[in-house]
Subunit: 221 residues, 2 copies
């Protein structure tokens, strides 16, 4: 079956005076995004890679690719105002049917094995997200207070969230809602069942300097 990966790089910036967006931070000698694209290529070299990047970062990215001699083939799509818009733009670059993985550009340590596991499960289940256990106690904010909740009932959601293309297209025909924080929520709101597969602890999202430190250490192992 055809496989596609939509890699969403939402970090803003790059105008004068703003910080370098996380997707361009250097990890083990090259930008985070290059690690992410390579992970998908390694999992299956035939997967069509679609990188969703804000328009004002695309020239910078092209320059980075030249400077790093980066040869992994990929398509570009324009980033939108919300993640929802970005994924929808990426989806327009998928011309055929098959399986579509939607992945955070800033999760460069995703393993080839996890990517394959998600595609395989999506082929039979339709809609799949990798999850892992919540490692800390959780409280839920309610009104002015909060209460302990049973963390064993919760799962932290990773990506790639992977779908049969007809399901993902149908889901993204919906109008945007504020509760659409990930693709599973979008697909679920369209009435589909979401299946869970086991994620991996290394598949961290790089959003803080601590995360980058940890990723450096993980890559060294």
């Amino acid at each position: 079956m055809n496989t596609y990966a939509i890699l969403v790089a939402g970090g803003k910036g790059l105008r004068m005076g703003t910080d370098l967006p996380k997707q361009f931070l250097t990890l083990a000698g090259k930008p985070v995004l290059m690690h992410t694209l390579e992970a998908f290529q390694k999992a299956d070299a035939s997967t069509v890679l679609i990188l969703v990047l804000p328009m004002n970062q695309q020239a910078f990215w092209a320059d980075l690719c030249v400077r790093h001699g980066f040869k992994v083939p990929h398509r570009l799509a324009d980033g939108g105002v919300t993640r929802f818009d970005s994924v929808r733009n990426g989806l327009e670059k998928v011309e055929d049917n098959g399986l579509i993985a939607v992945h955070d550009g800033v999760r460069p340590l995703v393993s080839a094995e996890l990517i394959r596991r998600c595609f395989q499960a999506a082929a039979s289940e339709g809609a799949v997200v990798p999850v892992h256990e919540v490692s800390e106690s959780l409280r839920k904010v309610e009104g002015k207070g909060s209460r302990a909740v049973d963390r064993s009932l919760y799962r932290a959601v990773q990506t790639p969230q992977t779908f049969q293309s007809d399901i993902l297209r149908k889901a993204y025909e919906q109008d945007y809602r504020g509760t659409f924080t990930d693709d599973a929520a979008v697909v679920e709101a369209a009435g589909y069942h979401i299946s869970l597969v086991e994620g991996i602890p290394e598949n961290i999202k790089i959003t803080t300097p601590l995360d980058l430190l940890l990723a450096e250490q993980l890559l060294k192992r």
Copy 2:
């Protein structure tokens, strides 16, 4: 006001053939637990430190203290079967009234500032836990399925969880329940209100090799 810290080191092991419990892993040249004790001493040298350790680890700990020339004064209490039992045993070593912080022994990177913030808030609020935002999307398992929940309504709970001594003692008169995953849950079940203060991202719990790697990097900064 008198201040006490009950440091719970629950990691099992040390019999033949088992792994070294996390609390004894070497972090920047010394056992994790020594960092934790030092953090509380640094926050306030007058705080009485109570280390709760399984009985079969206490001789090993005494030996470690000699070998590392570790001089931070502390009392020992016996670890119990559950965390609830361990905290209760630690509580018996508190002979006076005051403020009591209960802290995970495997959170060595807690800052003096956070410890002081928790004691200060507990003095006025009664029962305080440090929390931080949940960084990943959450799903709740329900029956055979799961559903997306709004992660902005949830907080990940850290320690030190800090209480006025009369509140904590009253709470620990209850019989144990399976839902008592942290002290806030115990105190809340006894009918008290829990206040939240802002935690710090560095205050990680060392439960995996990745966590230890990250802690090493954080200490180097």
